[in-house]
């Protein structure tokens, strides 16, 4: 009893407005809320009341539906892109220069001597099959051959192809050969290169080639890889091209530079490569002017005479522009420069700056990629190419037990060679062509968020001109070799100009399309548009819920104590709003039904005293007066 009394008092004190029943509370809320709909429900006649009730419901559900859409939009983390183009002082790209040929032939000749004699003999056999099949020179190292032999497959008889080993005269008819591409036909004698997983076993895979030229070079690459992988790194560096031999002249802007400004790096494909402006030890150079005058000018010598004949058939310099502190992946992004020409490369830096998670699925520095980056031993930053290669090498080590010569080694693993792991070529080939392995790598690697590409405009001209040829060769030879003999020629010399174009950057940067501010203003806009509401309205609503909870509590207590007539017990309770509202909505403009006005008195009705209105401090409509306020 006391508790209820206390609670009612508290409620009374807490909120003067709403009454003590749900209906009163609701009416009070509708009358006093700032949202636009509810007020009209109680203000109008019965028909309009109904209309307004449904309208309010409709608008409220519209608001919630649209809010749902807006929040969904926000959570999809859309981005908008903005593009800017222009010229600004930028870091000059790192320029990697390699020779297409990895080693000087004169240096590696002792290593490859056996192999070269073998291939020459094999070519002899292929090209002139008739003569000289008996007088096989005994000095040939057939051990090397037998690991990965080159064979010819005669597919005249499709069901029963005949395999001819070039150095063995016996023809073996293989019934159940497991070739990668068995349906090769048409060309009479495709050259094949079988790779057995184990020596002498029947589990052989023949790799078909439609052209002998391809088969020969592929075979040579496999064999030479095996030989060179045994050579220690410093020896390989020594066999490659030295900076002072390769870089003859260098000019950056107006400042002279020389081979010492280049950082040497050993690249498995191309031997010694030299990187200008790599930014590893010193600050990266800036270029603040467009045009060839302010770029990098180089004169290179690739000494084509000293190429390994079977290893690289294309001659030229390989070069690549890349970001500072990134590893140059020349096979992917590199371009060629032809000997005897001047190649001009205008550069436009095409940048893409992305927001990262959760806006786009990319990685800022590769730390969240589940692949061990093997290229970090070069101190280079993460890139997708590095990730893919590391992924492949890790798989290779896992499956074949040794690392491939073209990629960096994980710790404690050796490069594959024919002696230590005889089946590596088979293992490598199957791994390389395995689509599953590629997909795994693609799925586990992520691209970087800041992607920079160097768009190049390449043009070429003959260089040196016939008239200037003599003196240029003379000077360059003299400077390099300190001799008056001309040691350079057209087939080796390359001029390069690398410079920024007039517009040197094009940056596409992402920004979030939907921020929290956007979300709030859109939510507010929707609420305001349909119902004229704001956050305060929501708070009001919450308040009403709390009030109704109070009422529930009181009712519950009342019910428990069997008190049903609380209003009689508490005469100090103010007149309820519902009563008031009843009172003045019934007045209003509503004309009385004409039948009721039967009395013919012209007298104005007697103004009576309206009930004392203690709640009048609250906001309420003005038309609460009786008909006494006569208009003149």
């Amino acid at each position: 009893m006391n508790l209820k009394k206390y609670l009612v008092r508290a409620l009374h004190r807490l909120q003067k407005g709403p009454g003590y029943t749900y209906k009163e509370l609701l009416v009070w809320y509708c009358d006093n809320t700032n949202t636009h709909g509810p007020k009209r429900i109680i203000k109008e006649g019965p028909k309009k009341k109904l209309i307004w009730f449904f309208l309010t419901l409709l608008f409220a559900s519209l608001v919630f539906w649209q809010w749902g859409i807006l929040i969904n939009t926000y959570l999809s983390y859309n981005v908008t892109s903005s593009l800017s183009i222009g010229f600004k002082t930028m870091k000059f790209p790192a320029v990697t220069i390699c020779n297409a040929n990895p080693f000087k032939y004169s240096e590696v000749k002792p290593l490859l001597k056996e192999l070269d004699r073998l291939i020459e003999a094999a070519l002899e056999r292929i090209l002139q099959p008739g003569n000289g099949s008996e007088n096989l020179s005994p000095s040939l190292n057939l051990e090397l051959w037998n690991q990965i032999p080159l064979v010819l497959i005669d597919e005249h008889d499709k069901d029963n192809p005949v395999i001819l080993d070039i150095f063995e005269t016996n023809q073996t008819a293989v019934g159940n050969k497991t070739a990668l591409d068995t349906e090769t036909s048409g060309s009479q004698l495709p050259a094949l290169c079988p790779q057995c997983s184990q020596q002498g076993s029947d589990n052989c895979t023949y790799r078909n080639f439609s052209s002998a030229a391809q088969a020969v070079s592929e075979w040579y690459i496999l064999q030479s890889t095996s030989i060179l992988s045994k050579v220690p790194l410093h020896e390989r560096i020594r066999m490659g091209y030295q900076a002072e031999d390769m870089i003859l002249a260098c000019l950056y802007g107006a400042e002279p530079c020389n081979y010492k400004n280049f950082t040497q790096i050993y690249h498995p494909d191309h031997g010694n490569c030299y990187i200008f402006n790599w930014g590893m030890d010193e600050e990266a150079l800036n270029s603040s002017n467009p045009g060839a005058e302010f770029g990098l000018k180089l004169i290179l010598d690739i000494s084509q005479q000293d190429y390994i004949p079977y290893l690289s058939s294309a001659a030229g310099a390989r070069l690549m522009l890349h970001q500072q502190k990134s590893f140059p992946f020349l096979k992917d992004q590199g371009i060629y420069a032809m000997a005897g020409t001047e190649t001009s490369i205008g550069v436009l830096v095409d940048e893409l700056e992305r927001m990262g998670y959760p806006y786009s699925d990319c990685t800022m520095n590769g730390s969240d990629v589940p692949v061990k980056n093997l290229y970090s031993q070069y101190n280079t930053s993460y890139s997708i190419q590095a990730c893919l290669r590391s992924c492949f090498q890790n798989h290779m080590v896992e499956i074949c037990g040794c690392g491939h010569y073209m990629f960096p080694l994980p710790e404690g693993v050796n490069y594959c060679n024919n002696e230590d792991s005889p089946g590596w070529a088979y293992c490598y080939s199957s791994l390389r062509s395995s689509i599953k392995q590629r997909q795994i790598c693609i799925d586990s690697c992520k691209e970087t968020c800041n992607d920079t590409q160097y768009k190049m405009t390449i043009s070429m001209a003959d260089w040196p001109s016939e008239a200037s040829e003599d003196w240029i060769f003379h000077i360059l030879s003299y400077e390099r070799d300190m001799s008056t003999n001309v040691t350079l020629d057209r087939n080796g010399i390359i001029k390069l100009n690398i410079y920024f174009q007039e517009y040197n950057y094009r940056t596409i940067s992402e920004s979030a399309a939907t921020t929290i501010v956007w979300l709030l203003s859109s939510l507010g806009g929707q609420f305001g548009f349909w119902m004229g509401g704001s956050v305060l309205c929501l708070i009001e609503f919450g308040e009403i819920i709390i009030d109704s909870l109070w009422i529930t509590i009181i009712n519950l207590i009342g019910w428990c104590k069997g008190l049903r007539q609380r209003r009689a017990r508490y005469p100090d309770a103010p007149p309820t709003v519902s009563e008031l509202v009843e009172a003045h909505t019934n007045l209003g403009f509503q004309p009385e039904p004409p039948g009721a006005v039967a009395r013919a008195e012209a007298l104005p009705p007697e103004p009576g005293t309206p009930p004392p209105n203690y709640d009048s401090l609250r906001v309420q409509p003005l038309d609460t007066l009786g008909p006494d306020s006569d208009a003149d």
Binding site: H36, F59, Q66, L70, S81, A100, I126, D181, T184, G186, S187, N208, S210, A212, A213, Q304, Y307, I308, A314, A315, G316, F329, I335, Y336, I384, S433, I435, R438, K446, E447, I508, E510, S521, S522, Q526, F527, G528, F529, M531, G532, L587, G588, F589, Q590, E592, P594, V597, A602, P610, N613, S616, L617, P621, L622, D623, L625, G626, D628, S629, A631
Partner: protein
Amino acid sequence: AATAPGKKITARLKRTLPVRGPQAPTLSELMRWYCLNTNTHGCRRIVVSRGRLRRLLWILLTLSAVGLILWQCAELLMNYYSASVSVTVQFQKLPFPAVTICNINPYKYSAMKEYLSELDKETKKALETFYGFSEGKSKVRRSVDDWNSTGSDFFQQIPLLKVEDFSRTATDLHSGQKRKIEGSVFHKDSSIVNSGDSNDIIGFQLCDANNSSECALYTFSSGVNAIQEWYKLHYMNIMAQIPLETKEQLSYSAEDLILTCFFDGLSCDKRHFTRFHHPLHGNCYTFNSGENGTILSTSTGGSEYGLQVVLYIDEADYNPFLVTSTGAKIIVHDQNEYPFIEDIGTEIETAAATSIGMHFTQSRKLSKPYSDCTETGDDIPVENLYNKSYSLQICLHSCFQKAMVDSCGCAQYAQPLPAGAEYCNYKKNPNWMYCYYRLHEKFVKEQLGCQQICKDACSFKEWALTTSIAQWPSIVSEDWMLRVLSWDKGQKLNKKLNKTDLANLMVFYKDLNERFISENPANTLVILLSNFGGQLGLWMSCSVVCVIEIVEVFFIDSLSIVMRRQWQKAKKWWNGRQRRSSGKAPQARDLERQGHDNPVCIDEELPTFTTALRLPLPQDSPLPRTPPPNYSTLRLDTAFAEQLPDTLELGQH
């Protein structure tokens, strides 16, 4: 008694259907009521403000707020169809594009001998007469009589002329006759027009066969261009008469063109190539054309994993007049796209390795109403002659071909045939060249309307190419390379290959990042509505409810008030007439009506003591009534308490 049942019915109707219309009796009352009760801010201020200046100020402010809302919402509506661009990069397995490779020379010259021997002979003769060129043999000029005796068809059809620029006379170099130039002169090389050079200009004349007085002279600054253009015209005439099957036979086969092929680390051969006959380039071969339903894809970037082809370019078998450069032409395109190799092909040099790095970009624009592009080309009134998916180029070419068939009666050789048409040749259409040139002129000057009809496609794929060249084969590998490739070429060819007959081509993805540039609608309906809501709320704290209120009050209620007024007037007038006619005077009734109509109208200005004092005292009642105590007046009137004395004074005056 007669009126009683009707009254009853109306009374019952009014009771059951209480559609009472506006509760305010007059328009101004309604406005007052609206202003006081509306949820929009501003209106209330107009009513509750005292003082004319203040009220005016509030009216102005409210009106300007309404104006601002209207302006901003119009702005929002106008910018509704704008697009925002988003660039996404996806690293994934990429479909390899189709690569179409053509020899620059369309047909084997040796095979074409029987068709072209006449024309070549004429051309050589022309070269000899005009420039004294005779292939290193006797440089003796033949006399003009000799020429006439041979009776050359080609020169009669289209005479080559030497034009003296200022005298406007031309010398027919074949017959030696001078003739006056009639008609218009078209310069193919525009640079010569202003040079004022007195050098003779070479050209040819095209005449309307039906009306020989109408001629057009086409001049060239250089004989090289003139001869080539002239040769091409005749060449097209001849080729138009050869059926397609024969032409395919005359051109290169896949074995001829492709020596070796390597894709994604595996060997490929001619079965991976699809033949595609191009009218100007002969047989072209498309790698990965997707014809058998599968499209190859690459999952590794880099030159080793792309397409590597060695092409055999048989330079000795080139047509000396038609093409003057050696090599191949390639184009990288989508499987559904038509390769416009003559327009956008990349040329490949012989004796070199051309490495082409690709970067894939896909773009998508929003179609109508965001931009004027077409998704499928179905909405373009030009028939697609190419059997490939729509592109702007296809549309323009088809449009021109259609115009050609319409106005010249035959189709141009370089483009596909529309249904029921055939290629032009001057046996059947002696007039076509003149017609073609005229039409082409119009097309270039955008008079045909093709450029207006054709829209660009909404989505397109682009492969950005980075081309670089290396020497190939290198000096030291040349020897074995050529020997093995000759062996590859096989028994058909007994000679050793020359390195200038070969071209090495590598096409590969530089990286597997696919850039996808797409336009998205910047606004959705939801966002537009929230923006509206923001504007309405900012200026007037308005919402849709207010709009409904406005509609209710300003349209429905005002209208019904006006109607009611009119009705009452009409009634009054009717009553007056009746009264006059009947002589009765139901005065009391009128009074009652008045009172009924206007009893409960509530003055918004609450009666105060001053207003109460100003009320006229009822004459017949001796007792002045006390105004009712109004406790609610405290609310609003306190704000204007200081004004009250003024009004009081005014009242007393």
